[in-house]
């Protein structure tokens, strides 16, 4: 029923495209030229500011905006080697305009202006959260921030631990690039969220569909790019201050960053950034969740030199968090688990609010140190050399302390993992040379994992290397891409067998390919098709894990005979902006050979602490199919509405059963109103967001502790405004989630076994960008 309704909605919306509205049918054609030599500038970024539209000029420097209303428009044009310039265009009828862009290349003697490369156009479904959208979710864990994007859901452990899922897949099949470097943490746990401070990001991009060639053969589901803003390129000191307060959990966050460009040394710029976060017990509509506090202390800094011939950058970030685990969700054994399911309220439901974090808890630390060099090997090509060091420490404390008082006083973690990763890559990239653009590269990674505490995951060494080539052929209306990659990986774990450590050796290798095309028949219609294969070696935990994991209340057993998993993925994405309608639609399918998954054993296993369910890693052929889309309609009188929906279906082809832990069908509707800009107030809007999530009825038989929870409906909203106090902007955002204080549980929240999801949360945010010093006083547009 639910799907039928969704299909109906899509059909209705496409039908509605047929109806034409009478206003706003003007066209603006433009040519971008170099002011000095009148050369037409191809591939310049042309940005229409409010309503925001971004396009690129074609090779001849031409661009077209359709469906504009009468009025005056600001247009920002960016091009490599040119100064970012804002032009004012009065549009009363359709017209063609020549834009002469000042060329600053000659003015600065030995410095090339920081490159402003256009966002890469990829044949996969690609979506970005920009500053404005990030303002709505500041202070949330990374996974929750990403939920604003089509096709992204999360796997949660309560409100504070949130793992992103793309196209219904999570964990190892998603690659997260923090400032260009793949994040390497203890990715294996369902309750291990990525250790990244979302405040680092000025922009978060999700590339959906197998991005296996460029990023690594295991980026099967997609890639998350966390990108800080560009460093300043002229003498200045600017910064930003963020503060967030939320009622649920009474959490407070302060985050700030300061960046500058040295006055004396042209090309040398820097940034420091830091975040402090503290939150206490979260509250469901009817009770507090004991021990669900969170503490984070994060900082990062960067120093970069941008020269005419080469650029160099060093970046360091550190993430420290302590996350309390809801104490009733941490259970002793199967009996406790059964008791927890049978309770309508958790055992600790009489708890009151507290910031204190007791056992059970997770303490994690992540360090990233990155060196980054790139040399200009020609006007339109660059050679990159990157090195990154990562150190990830994760300590997990079980709820019960050791029974011995002396040991208990030491308060040691029950698991303590240390993962060290060295990563290096060399890439050569060229922009449009005879309509070809491309990337070639070699990447290598070396890892070491050590542990102490109860045996679960063995210590190991692991190495990976790969080479790839990716070329794109670009015509004005069509682009083709083709790529290939080869990888090898070895894993050497030390596995505990009969109280002795046995060394194993595993080696995997394979090719990945992709091909795709983008078709842009009109400036406002883009459709793409992409096909890729990828493979993933089984991870160390899938192969060798063997032990009791209280965090998930189960005994987990790997299978050392697992083979590599391989996938073939097709994805198609269409974006159409027609008059006042903006639509996007994505459809995809993954076929997996030897899909690795987690499944429950027939009967629980006895330990001295009682019986525990046993989970095994297993592989089968599987298929994942899904589609999602969004439609935004701009009504008259500054009203707008947006509808998003998604459907994912996973199927185990061998067992003829649905795959476990697939997101349920969902639909989200937004109605908003944009206020007119005044002298001191701008970018104001009010929107109401409703979300309906269906019950997940497609689950494998006898696979879960408790049946999936019922469908639910949530209402929330956002109110945002920018105040201008003497040129000092203050951006205020007020967000409400679960506004009706609905009692519900979500299928992909592991805490659903024990407690309701959190109730109403009102979050107040302030962002204050500031300029301390600016020598050139170049007008910035933000």
């Amino acid at each position: 029923m639910f799907i039928n309704k969704q299909i109906l909605v899509f059909i209705l919306l496409f039908l509605s495209l047929i109806f034409r509205s009478q206003n706003c049918d003007l066209q603006l054609k433009g040519i971008v030229r170099d002011e000095d030599n009148s050369e037409h500038l191809g591939f310049a970024v042309v940005k229409l500011l409010s309503p925001e539209k971004i396009i690129q000029t074609n090779e001849k420097g031409e661009f077209t905006f359709d469906h504009l209303c009468k009025g005056s428009y600001k247009i920002l044009i960016q091009h490599v080697g040119c100064k970012d310039t804002i032009f004012l265009v009065d549009l009363m009828k359709s017209k063609k305009v020549i834009f002469n862009l000042p060329h600053t290349f000659n003015q600065l003697k030995d410095i090339e202006i920081v490159e402003k490369k256009a966002d890469e156009v990829l044949p996969q479904a690609i979506e970005t959260l920009n500053k404005k959208e990030l303002d709505k979710s500041k202070g949330l864990p990374l996974g929750e921030v990403l939920k604003g994007l089509n096709g992204v859901t999360t796997f949660n452990n309560g409100a504070t631990i949130s793992k992103p899922m793309i196209n219904g897949m999570q964990g190892y099949r998603i690659m997260t690039l923090n400032n260009g470097i793949r994040q390497e943490g203890q990715n294996w746990g369902n309750e291990h969220a990525p250790e990244i401070d979302p405040f680092i990001a000025q922009k978060i991009t999700v590339i959906r569909g197998a991005s296996t060639v460029r990023y690594g053969s295991d980026a099967i589901a997609g890639v998350i790019l966390i990108e800080p803003g560009p460093l300043p390129d002229s003498a200045s000191i600017t910064g930003e201050f963020n503060s967030v307060g939320a009622t649920n959990g009474r959490s407070g966050i302060a985050s700030g960053q300061l960046q500058g460009h040295f006055d004396k040394i042209k090309g040398l710029s820097w940034r420091v950034q830091g975040t402090l976060k503290q939150g206490g017990s979260m509250k469901t509509p009817t009770y507090y969740l004991k021990n669900t506090g969170i503490e984070e202390k994060n900082f990062s800094y960067a120093l970069a030199y941008h020269g005419k011939k080469f650029n160099a950058e060093i970046f360091y970030s550190q993430f420290n968090s302590v996350i309390g685990i809801f104490s009733s969700a941490h259970i002793g054994n199967l009996t406790d688990l059964q008791a927890a399911f049978n309770r309508s309220k958790p055992a600790d439901s009489l708890a009151t609010f507290s910031y204190e974090i007791d056992r059970p808890k997770q303490v994690s630390e992540h360090e990233l140190l990155k060196f980054n060099f790139h040399f200009h090997t020609g006007l339109r090509s660059r050679l990159y050399a990157n090195y990154a060091y990562q150190y990830n420490k994760r300590q997990e404390y079980d709820k019960h302390k050791p029974r011995n008082n002396q040991l208990a006083q030491l308060n040691l973690p029950d698991f303590d993992f240390r993962l060290t990763t060295h990563y290096g890559e060399v890439l050569w990239e060229h922009d449009y040379i005879n309509r070809f653009s491309g990337k070639f590269g070699a990447q290598g990674m070396y890892q070491e994992n050590a542990f102490t505490g109860r045996y679960l995951l063995p210590g190991f060494f692991s190495g990976t290397w790969g080479v790839f080539a990716l070329e794109k052929y670009v015509l004005p209306k069509i682009e083709f891409e083709i790529g290939a990659r080869y990888d090898e990986r070895y894993i050497t774990p030390y596995v505990l067998e009969l109280n002795e450590f046995v060394r194993y050796h595993n080696a995997f290798k394979g090719f990945s390919f992709n091909t795709g095309f983008i078709y842009k028949p009109l400036t406002n219609l883009k459709t793409s098709f992409f096909a890729a294969n990828g493979w993933r070696s089984p991870s160390v935990n899938e192969l060798y894990t063997n032990g009791l994991h209280h965090g998930t209340a189960s005994i987990e057993r790997g299978d050392k005979n697992l083979k590599a998993e391989s996938s073939f993925n097709v994805i198609s994405n269409t974006q159409l902006n027609y008059k006042k309608i903006e639509t996007e639609f994505t459809i995809y399918n993954y076929y997996f050979n030897n899909f690795i998954y987690y499944f429950p054993g027939d009967r629980p296993e006895l330990t001295i602490r009682g019986a525990f369910p046993v989970f095994y890693y297993k592989q089968n052929n599987a298929n994942i199919f899904g589609m999602d889309g969004s439609v935004k309609y701009n009504f008259p009188f500054n009203l707008y509405s947006k509808l998003r929906g998604m459907v994912v279906r996973g199927y185990n082809l061998d067992d003829k059963q649905p795959l476990i832990y697939m997101p349920a069908d969902r639909i989200e509707g937004t109605i908003g109103y944009s206020f007119k800009d005044k002298k001191y107030i701008k970018d104001s809007y009010l929107e109401i967001v409703t979300q309906a999530v269906n019950k997940q009825i497609r689950v494998p038989a006898n696979s879960d502790f408790a049946p999936p929870p019922e469908r639910y409906f949530l209402v929330g909203g956002n109110l945002s405004t920018t105040l201008l106090l003497k040129r000092q902007p203050l951006i205020f955002t007020l967000s409400v989630t679960n506004g009706l204080n609905t009692i519900y549980r979500d299928y992909l929240d592991r805490f659903r076994y024990y407690n309701d999801a959190v109730g109403t949360n009102i979050t107040f945010r302030l962002r204050m960008p500031f300029t301390l010093y600016n020598k050139n006083k170049i007008k910035t547009n933000k």
Partner: protein, 220 residues
């Protein structure tokens, strides 16, 4: 400024930044065995309870039943005895009692992964005020004569020891089992040790489960 000078300068700053960033790791002797040194089990500060022994004395002889998980939670599955002392798993254990008899029962908890064997039950005795044994999760009546009647069979268990706290409460390391008439079926009897630091009140509800072993009772 020449490019080379700038390169040197930025390199110098880079080195300085690295020096700052390579912060000190934990100062404790690193508990982390790097995989190269593996070959010996990691120093495991974890406490392990491998064995529960139920020693049943009828006045003249003692019968011993046990559950043993030789490598602790996970790893090799636990098994019951007597019947076998090898790892070939005996997954069930029936405690045979005679009708209308009184038995004195001592419980022992051991860590047999250590050498010499660590008797955990002695530590339980030392921390008696924070611990209590329960039978089928039943809350006994108050001391003295604290006892539970196991439903579904004809067995009454009386706590014969106290934790010695200001308000004395039962402990359960020493109990007396009193049987009634013969039964035809086996009845499950789960013996649990609960850790109730600061929360012990004589009931089952507070605290965490340290040990939980299901046996079966048959009265002949």
């Amino acid at each position: 400024m020449k490019t080379t000078t700038k390169m040197i300068l930025s390199a110098a700053v880079a080195v300085a930044l690295v020096a700052v960033s390579c912060k000190k790791k934990d100062k404790d002797p690193d508990p982390t065995p790097t995989p190269t040194t593996t070959g010996n089990p990691p120093p495991n500060a974890q406490e392990v309870i491998t064995t529960m022994k139920v020693m049943i004395n009828n006045g003249t002889t003692t019968a011993t039943y046990f559950f043993k998980d030789p490598d602790g939670d996970g790893g090799i599955a636990g098994f019951y005895g007597p019947g076998t002392t090898t790892t070939s798993a005996q997954t069930d254990s029936v405690i045979n009692l005679l009708a209308s008899k009184n038995y004195t029962v001592n419980l022992f908890l051991l860590d047999e992964s250590k050498s010499p064997v660590d008797t955990i039950s002695n530590e339980v005795l030392e921390e008696a005020a924070d611990h209590m044994f329960f039978f089928n999760q039943q809350t006994p009546s108050a001391l003295p004569n604290a006892s539970v009647t196991i439903s579904g069979t004809n067995l009454t268990i009386m706590y014969k020891d106290s934790d010695g706290a200001t308000t004395p409460r039962p402990l359960g390391l020493l109990t007396e089992w009193m049987t009634g008439a013969m039964t035809t079926t086996k009845k499950e009897l789960t013996i649990e040790l609960k850790h109730q630091p600061g929360t012990k009140n004589g009931t089952y509800a507070p605290g965490d489960v340290d040990v939980s072993v299901p046996f079966k009772i048959k009265i002949n």
